[in-house]
């Protein structure tokens, strides 16, 4: 902890982590205290993240952003934290979504203490993954970020029972069939799937570590030193898929994506936000910051597969979203589709594509957070998420509708919102490497327009039924959250210079390290 920035990194993880531990001792019935306490934690994180983002030194030395502590020397494990151009926006993303998630969770009254403890722990895990530069700790935090999900969904989530839905009319809304999806199923599947992914990652980590140890005679889990080792091409080609698929599971890589819609649907609002908004990014981040960095040749060999699967993600997710009738499923599949752009960007192994991928992580995170926040409000007010039943809500919930529309427009790549810039960069990268897939990706964006507009037209437009006469629009707090998220989307949609500059400063050395740029 040589400098203030180092201390800030440390605090970024420690504040939510110890904050959660301290919360254990709070009286469980002091709801207001618990809410405000968690908000304070989130706010501290937000302040730190904003500070780090604003003052980030794109061409200075990164040494000042480090923490280093020998934790388990036998295996070469050190508790090291660092910040790079890639992680800076992601840390900010996490801080923003956490803050927003906590704020929209004002209505959590069922055991709020436990809820916020788990939520806060999860967030500290996410910070940890972004900041850790030691593979062990990266994995450690990765798991920490996954585990609380089970209870968060299982206890505070909601079940979907299509069999109980009113009969659908018109084409396009029978989608999904008669599938009973209790929240326990979603929670269990999500948990097992993500841990299954992390098992693959774990195998690869251990393999790389052992290989490096036998090559250099020195045990180390530091990503930098692992990356410095020259692994045989064969080894890289064998073990890169472990990283790619293992992390890819969390990123919603097709065909390992199905946990994501089910999980999102079952999860409570704040968890959906964090999960789709931040956690899925961990997967993509892992592929980038671990897989590609450590095993560059493997990454090159597998890049066509990654970008191909990413394209499948884009199209498959979008087309699947067309066939859904549950609001959250639409958004869940849209996340699958949008993560496809991230994966495509990663698969380009090209500077602009990678920039786009990272920016898309950020941008999709904010956007999907906004989505889930608004859908959560609708569900809270109507106790319905069935598109075929909801109609004309715009009359009563204009503000919610406006924010949902903003998220939807972001999602379909409307210029002015940051996703457009991100997707544009991904497209450029893809066109430079695999133009045909680029064309498919652009078409995917058009399909997105179809399902988003269908959703808007169904749910918010049209005549309103008497059933919703007393529907309440967004509360000021909720509206403020929505406005803040939209503002972020607009800010970097209209003028992305700074954030892309930061990302670029992280991507370039990464590619140089891989011997590509």
């Amino acid at each position: 902890m040589s400098s203030m920035e180092g201390a800030l990194l440390f605090a970024l993880i420690a504040v939510p982590f110890f904050g959660a531990l301290v919360m254990v001792f709070f009286p469980a019935d002091k709801h207001s205290l618990i809410h405000w306490y968690t908000r304070a934690i989130a706010f501290v994180g937000l302040v730190l993240a904003v500070y780090l983002f604003v003052t980030y030194d794109t061409d200075g030395d990164l040494g000042k952003y480090t923490v280093d502590f020998a934790w388990l020397p036998t295996l070469g494990i050190r508790y090291t934290l660092g910040l790079s151009g890639i992680t800076t926006p992601l840390v900010l993303l996490n801080a923003i979504i956490f803050m927003a998630g906590v704020l929209v969770s004002w209505n959590v009254t069922h055991r709020p203490k436990d809820f916020f403890i788990w939520l806060t722990l999860l967030v500290s895990g996410v910070y940890g993954v972004f900041l850790a530069t030691d593979l062990f700790f990266l994995f450690f935090f990765y798991e920490l970020a996954v585990v609380p999900m089970y209870l968060l969904i299982g206890v505070w989530g909601s079940s979907t029972d299509f069999t109980k839905m009113e009969p659908a009319e018109g084409p396009g809304f029978g989608g999904g069939g008669k599938f009973d999806r209790p929240k326990e199923y979603g929670a269990m599947k999500l948990m097992l799937y993500l841990v299954a992914g992390s098992v693959l990652v774990w195998i690869a980590i251990v393999a790389v570590w052992a290989e490096a140890r036998s090559a250099t005679g020195e045990a180390s889990f530091a990503i930098a030193s692992l990356a410095a080792v020259e692994y045989s091409r064969e080894f890289q080609v064998i073990f890169y898929p472990f990283f790619m698929i293992g992390f890819g599971v969390l990123a919603g890589l097709w065909p390992f994506h199905t946990w994501s819609p089910d999980g999102h649907v079952a999860a409570p609002t704040a968890v959906s936000m964090l999960h789709a908004g931040v956690l899925m990014k961990l997967g993509a981040f892992g592929i980038l910051a671990v897989g590609m960095v450590v095993l560059p040749e493997g990454a090159e060999a597998w890049a066509p597969v990654l970008i191909g699967l990413g394209t499948v993600n884009v199209l498959y997710g979008a087309v699947s979203a067309l066939g859904q009738r549950d609001l959250k499923y639409v958004i869940g599949y849209s996340s699958v589709s949008h993560m496809g752009y991230v994966l495509m960007g990663l698969g380009t192994l090209e500077v602009i594509g990678l920039n786009g991928a990272v920016f898309q992580m950020f941008s999709h995170g904010i956007m999907t957070g906004l989505f889930f926040a608004m859908v959560g409000i609708i569900y809270e007010r109507t106790h319905l998420r069935d598109i075929t039943v909801l109609e004309g809500l715009g009359k009563r919930m204009g503000v919610v509708g406006a924010f949902l529309a903003a998220a939807g427009l972001t999602s379909l790549g409307l210029p002015g919102f940051s996703s457009f810039v991100a997707e544009l960069l991904v497209f450029i990268g893809t066109f430079r490497t695999y133009p045909l897939l680029g064309v498919l990706a652009v078409i995917g964006a058009a399909i997105t327009a179809v399902y988003i507009l269908r959703l808007m037209a169904k749910v918010f437009f049209g005549p309103i039924s008497d059933r919703w006469a007393d529907l309440e629009d967004a509360k000021p707090l909720e509206a403020a959250v929505g406005a803040a998220l939209v503002a972020v989307l607009l800010l970097w949609g209209l003028y992305p210079f700074r954030i892309v500059e930061i990302i670029d400063s992280g991507v370039k050395p990464l590619l140089e390290g891989m011997g590509i740029a």
Partner: protein, 497 residues
């Protein structure tokens, strides 16, 4: 015939034996209502002996009786661990004994004797001594598992345990004798030397080894020698289940590790794959069958069968790193399992139920117990901030470093499976609601002592997960001792590469 035997180095053993006799004797003088004094005496006695033993044997390094009995830091580590386990079990069973068992004096005394047996298993440097210690431990456990005299299941457990135990000791002894025939000695060091000397591999050696593996496998509960375990775990009184799961296993691994390290290391190539295969089979079988269990004890029994598979990796890899890993995993496993088992004991004490659905809504009825069980189960599944994460990571890395990456892969998949059934229990506790009738809404009270033990174990689980280095430093010392004596194995650390 044996000059200069430093008998004083056996003081700890003598003290423990003396403590056992003291408790036996005291039993006659303590009024039935105040039998818990015996538990306190036992626990305090063991604590005092630990306090005495550690400074007394620190840095001692000696082989008594020609290597028959070892006094080294490896043995010291397991002595302390055994006594610690003993203390935990004694305190953890205090209330259980009070409410559900007779003969408390004998109960505690037998536990102390079994602790002694465990201590000697880790210190044995010779097959027969090891066998006798093991048999002593087994005898104690046969008795203890049948200690709930009026309980059909407890009796069934002890019948199965004793008959299969006798059978397995027949196998083990035959194996020992065959090894004796093939190598001419039963001393570990001598065996290693003889193994190095022989060019070809004698058939008796292999059959003997197979029988020894079978006999030890029984003790370790490794597939396919594990079959007694679920039944005995389920039937035995709850604290004894914990004790069998933790203590007996720790001691058996202490013995097995020393045996494989000091005696059988030269034949590494012969048995590595065997042990690795057994490890894989064990972890898959244990975890897969655990999925379909409905009784908590039985589920945990299969889970601990699965855990044996992980631990066997440490033997299969056989490197200093792997030994460290095995030992640290053993420590983590002990602490974690105690946390879970004692929490379940507390639940059982209060409700008399031990089926998984009975735990519905426990988070509301007994948040502390639910939290402890959750911590323990998550640790067993290898989730971060808990002992299981670090120790598994260590263990799997060590296995991978010796070229057993495939085994590490199987182990990781097995831990994934284990997560599933652990989550089933967690789901009952946190997500399901307590049944309205049948006193489901009654809060589960945990007596102070038991709560303290559970708390300590859960805390230990967390501490080990957060900062394992101090424990590891100790373990490195202990392994170093193993390496010194196992000098017949010069190429350690590079095996398998």
């Amino acid at each position: 015939m044996t000059p200069d035997v430093r008998f004083e180095l056996l003081w700890p053993e003598f003290l423990v034996a003396g403590l056992a006799f003291l408790v036996f004797t005291l039993d006659f003088f303590v009024r039935p209502a105040r039998k818990e004094v015996l538990a306190w005496v036992s626990a305090a006695g063991l604590a005092v002996i630990i306090a005495f033993t550690v400074p007394f044997l620190l840095n001692e390094h000696d082989s008594l009786f020609d290597g028959l009995y070892r006094v080294d830091s490896y043995a010291l580590f397991f002595k302390v661990l055994s006594m610690g386990i003993g203390i935990a079990v004694i305190l953890g069973s205090l209330h259980f004994v009070d409410r559900r068992l007779t003969h408390p004096g004998e109960y505690y005394a037998i536990i102390i004797v079994s602790v002694l047996a465990m201590m000697m298993m880790a210190a044995s440097g010779e097959l027969l001594t090891a066998y006798l210690s093991l048999e002593l431990l087994s005898f104690c456990l046969y008795i203890l598992s049948g200690f709930a005299l009026q309980d059909r299941r407890s009796n069934e457990a002890s019948v199965k345990y004793v008959l299969l135990g006798a059978f397995s000791s027949g196998l083990l002894l035959y194996g020992i004798v065959l090894l004796y025939g093939a190598l001419g000695t039963t001393h570990f060091a001598g065996m290693a030397a003889a193994l190095e000397g022989t060019g070809g591999v004698d058939g008796r050696l292999l059959v003997g080894l197979a029988l020894v593996v079978a006999g030890l496998g029984f003790k370790l509960a490794a597939v396919p020698f594990h079959m007694w375990a679920p039944d005995v775990y389920q039937g035995a009184p709850m604290p004894i289940t914990a004790y069998i799961a933790v203590g007996s296993k720790a001691a058996a691994f202490a013995l097995a590790l020393r045996l494989f390290y000091e005696a059988l290391a030269p034949a590494y190539d012969e048995w590595q794959l065997l042990i690795a295969g057994m490890a894989a089979l064990t972890m898959i079988f244990g975890n897969v069958v655990a999925i379909v269990q409905t009784n908590v004890k039985r589920m945990l029994a299969y889970s601990s069968v699965g855990q044996v598979g992980f631990l066997l990796m440490g033997i299969a890899a056989l490197s200093p790193l792997a030994s460290n890993a095995l030992m640290v995993h053993l420590v983590g496993y002990s602490v974690t399992n105690f946390a879970v088992f004692f929490a379940i004991t507390a639940f059982y004490n209060a409700t008399g139920k031990d089926d998984i659905p009975d735990f519905a809504g426990l988070a509301g009825r007994a948040p502390f117990l639910a939290a402890a069980i959750t911590v323990g189960l998550f640790s067993l599944a290898g989730l971060p901030f808990l002992a299981g994460f670090v120790t598994k990571f260590y263990l799997f890395s060590a296995a991978a470093a010796e070229g057993l990456l495939w085994l590490a892969g199987v182990a990781m998949v097995a831990s994934l499976i284990s997560l599933y059934y652990y989550l089933q229990l967690i789901r009952q506790m946190y997500i399901e609601r307590a049944p309205e009738d049948e006193g489901g809404s009654v809060t589960v009270a945990t007596p102070g002592v038991l709560a303290a033990v559970i708390g300590a174990m859960a805390l230990g689980t967390v501490l080990l997960g957060v900062y394992p280095e101090p424990v590891l430093a100790t373990i490195r010392e202990a392994t170093a001792a193993l390496l010194d004596t196992g000098s017949a194995w010069p190429t350690l650390g590079s095996a398998g590469q």
